[in-house]
């Protein structure tokens, strides 16, 4: 009997490790031989821990599983109270276009054999037969843009590094996924680490870089463990070697290190303060050398682009947002998890049709798209299609494609204050608009909360200063959640006034 029990952090946080032990114990007591594969998550977090049992018909899913549900796995599977049938046939799975996440949840993340059997290394093998310029052209042609949030064309960044003079160049993977509501990087690293390794190796070939670093945040212990094990396996199998090798590095709890120049300073062993640009990291990055800094999902999307061709990937999407995007649906939501789909679904389709509305059953009040630096969208903007430019046109951003759904009990003045407070805690301190502005922002919102509406113009002015005067997106984008809350939910700011009177 072969079963899959996820090692994914979300599954583990909901009891997957205990479940795996209980299944092994139950099997032993029954004298049944079992093979338990610890896979990544399928992305249906509301069903985690989701156990899959391999049958002749396919993989049957059971979840959310508790230890009490374990004995039933050894009886009639069809009548198990947590049975969902074939996992691949579930609407959540069938509705997706899984390109980057094709193997996540499917394979044993630490089996290179599984990886190759499911199409792994095809992209790297093809890239190895191409010139640097041809690889760069293929990635450029695919339309892939930075999935970390900035949306900068990946191929153009690679071209700059590829053509930069210098013997020593680096590929740095930004796995400092600190935004609330985002967990795609984590799921990819936990569920299919070889895809990231392959993507980085291809980037190395394209740019003439021989060394790579994955900078993973310390809040992701499972991802760190799986990536470190995968790098070792890839080194032993000579996928990594003298031509291109890599190391896993661990962050130390600073949100701002998700900003690329701050990340580079941190990687060099310095305080994670932001560097002024220029010089671009592409020309003077890690240790002053030409460096590609790409997000996990950007790099992990490269193998499928190289394997299937730029035209295949580019065919998905909307406008200038090409390919697929792993949506992370989170917060107060009935069906939360990861859903990879071509750009272009509307926000309302994502929240209501896919997410199923709120978990509390109350009306959706607002959805924050793109993490703590993203705007809050009211239901009146639910017709906005998911794309970089489309969200920009509505004074928002898609960021790393995380969505926090909030019900009508949420106080938007409180959320605006939290955004400013978060900025005070996480500011690196280098530039004044962020360092001082966020502190003044908290004070100004406290004045508003006390009923002083004369603070509104001051808040608006402060946000404008932070937006245009900050060195990086932390200070520069904190105004998005603040101003969107003020613009779309004025009642929450007026209610404080009424209460004061």
């Amino acid at each position: 009997m072969k079963l899959y029990v996820p090692l994914d952090s979300a599954a583990v946080a909901l009891g997957a490790d205990k479940l795996a032990a209980a299944i092994a114990a139950e099997a032993a007591s029954r004298g049944v031989e079992v093979e338990i594969v610890r896979n990544g998550s399928r992305g249906m977090v509301w069903l985690e821990p989701l156990v899959e049992v391999v049958t002749d018909a396919g993989r049957l899913g059971f979840g959310p599983m508790t230890v009490a549900d374990v004995p039933g796995l050894f009886g009639d599977l069809a009548s198990h109270p947590k049975a969902h049938g074939l996992v691949d046939e579930l609407p959540w799975m069938k509705g997706q276009t899984r390109l980057t996440f094709a193997r996540v949840g499917v394979i044993d993340p630490l089996s290179l054999k599984d990886y190759v059997a499911h199409g792994g290394l095809v992209g790297l093998e093809r890239a190895a037969k191409m010139t640097k310029a041809e690889i760069v052209a293929e990635v450029t042609e695919s339309g892939l843009r930075g999935r970390g949030g900035a949306g900068f064309p990946t191929g153009i960044k690679w071209k700059t590094v590829s053509e930069a003079p210098g013997e020593l160049k680096y590929i740095v993977c930004n796995a400092d996924e600190g935004d609330s509501a985002t967990f795609a990087d984590r799921m990819l690293m936990e569920g299919d680490p070889f895809t990231l390794i392959e993507g980085m190796a291809i980037a190395g070939l394209a740019c003439g870089a021989t060394k790579g670093y994955v900078y993973i945040r310390s809040e992701y212990p499972v991802a760190i463990r799986v990536m470190e094990a995968a790098v070792k396996i890839a080194q032993d199998a000579k996928v990594l070697g003298p031509a291109f090798d890599m190391e896993v590095r661990v962050g130390a709890g600073a949100y701002v290190c998700g900003e690329e120049t701050s990340l580079l300073n941190s990687l060099e062993g310095k305080r994670g303060v932001v560097r002024a640009k220029p010089p671009l990291p592409a020309l003077q990055g890690f240790m002053g050398r030409p460096t590609v800094v790409n997000n996990v999902i950007s790099l992990a999307s490269v193998p499928v682009i190289m394997a299937k061709g730029a035209a295949f990937y580019k065919d998905f999407g909307l406008g200038r947002s090409r390919g697929t995007i792993p949506l992370q649906i989170a917060g107060n939501v009935k069906r939360g998890g990861l859903y990879e789909v071509a750009f272009g679904l509307t926000l309302g389709q994502i929240v209501n049709a896919i997410g199923g509305g709120t978990a509390s059953g109350r009306p959706v009040k607002a959805v924050q798209v793109g993490g703590p630096l993203g705007a809050w969208f009211p239901p009146s903007l639910f017709d906005t299609p998911f794309g970089y430019e489309e969200f920009g046109a509505k004074d928002g951003l898609i960021g790393h494609a995380g969505l926090t759904i909030a019900d009508d009990t949420t106080d938007m003045l409180h959320m605006a204050r939290f955004a400013m407070e978060f900025c005070t805690i996480e500011s690196c301190g280098k530039c004044t608009p962020c360092r001082i502005g966020a502190v003044r922002g908290v004070e100004t919102l406290d004045r508003l909360a006390a009923g002083d509406v004369s603070a509104i113009p001051l808040l608006t002015d402060l946000c404008s200063t932070m937006k245009s005067g900050s060195l990086c997106a932390l200070g520069g984008f904190t105004p998005y959640p603040v101003m969107s809350a003020l613009t779309h939910f004025p009642d929450d700011f007026a209610r404080a006034k009424e209460a004061a009177e």
Partner: protein
């Protein structure tokens, strides 16, 4: 408390083990904290000398990052996520009840040295919040029952 000679021997071992790395300071600090539970002040001159940095530079790095501690913590470390996704499912209220039950605020340790309470901004468990981490172990849909795990 460990004898400072024991400290310095162990720190020398750690420094030695990290030779040849590019930008070794964060890995060194993580290793020291894993060994002692915090980064002792006495380590600073030793690290500075080995990496040819000033003591101020090493201190600056330690104090910049939330993870590094300059003093020992409680026997258990309970981290609760304060970020937006966890807030939308009642994370603040859970944190308030836990603070009240422990009688401490963020960054504080119970007087008996049992638990240190720390905020964390996102554990990537945003679709099964409120999220927590107890001594490095992840907890989803966290409530006050998590206190049972730090009871002793």
């Amino acid at each position: 408390m460990l004898d400072s000679h024991v400290h310095s021997d162990r720190i020398a071992e750690i420094l030695n083990a990290h030779q040849g790395l590019e930008g070794p300071l964060l890995p060194i600090l993580h290793a020291i904290q894993a060994a002692f539970g915090y980064v002792p002040d006495s380590a600073i001159p030793q690290i500075a000398a080995a990496l040819m940095l000033s003591k101020a530079e090493v201190h600056g790095v330690i104090s910049f990052y939330h993870d590094f501690r300059a003093a020992p913590v409680g026997r258990h470390v309970l981290k609760l996520c304060r970020a937006e996704a966890c807030q939308t499912v009642g994370g603040d209220a859970v944190a308030d009840r836990i603070k009240a039950a422990l009688g401490i605020d963020w960054h504080e340790t119970t007087p008996d040295g049992r638990v240190t309470l720390e905020p964390v901004f996102c554990l990537g468990l945003c679709a099964c919040g409120p999220a927590a981490m107890v001594d490095g172990r992840l907890v989803g849909r966290c409530d006050e029952s998590v206190l049972a795990e730090v009871a002793k």
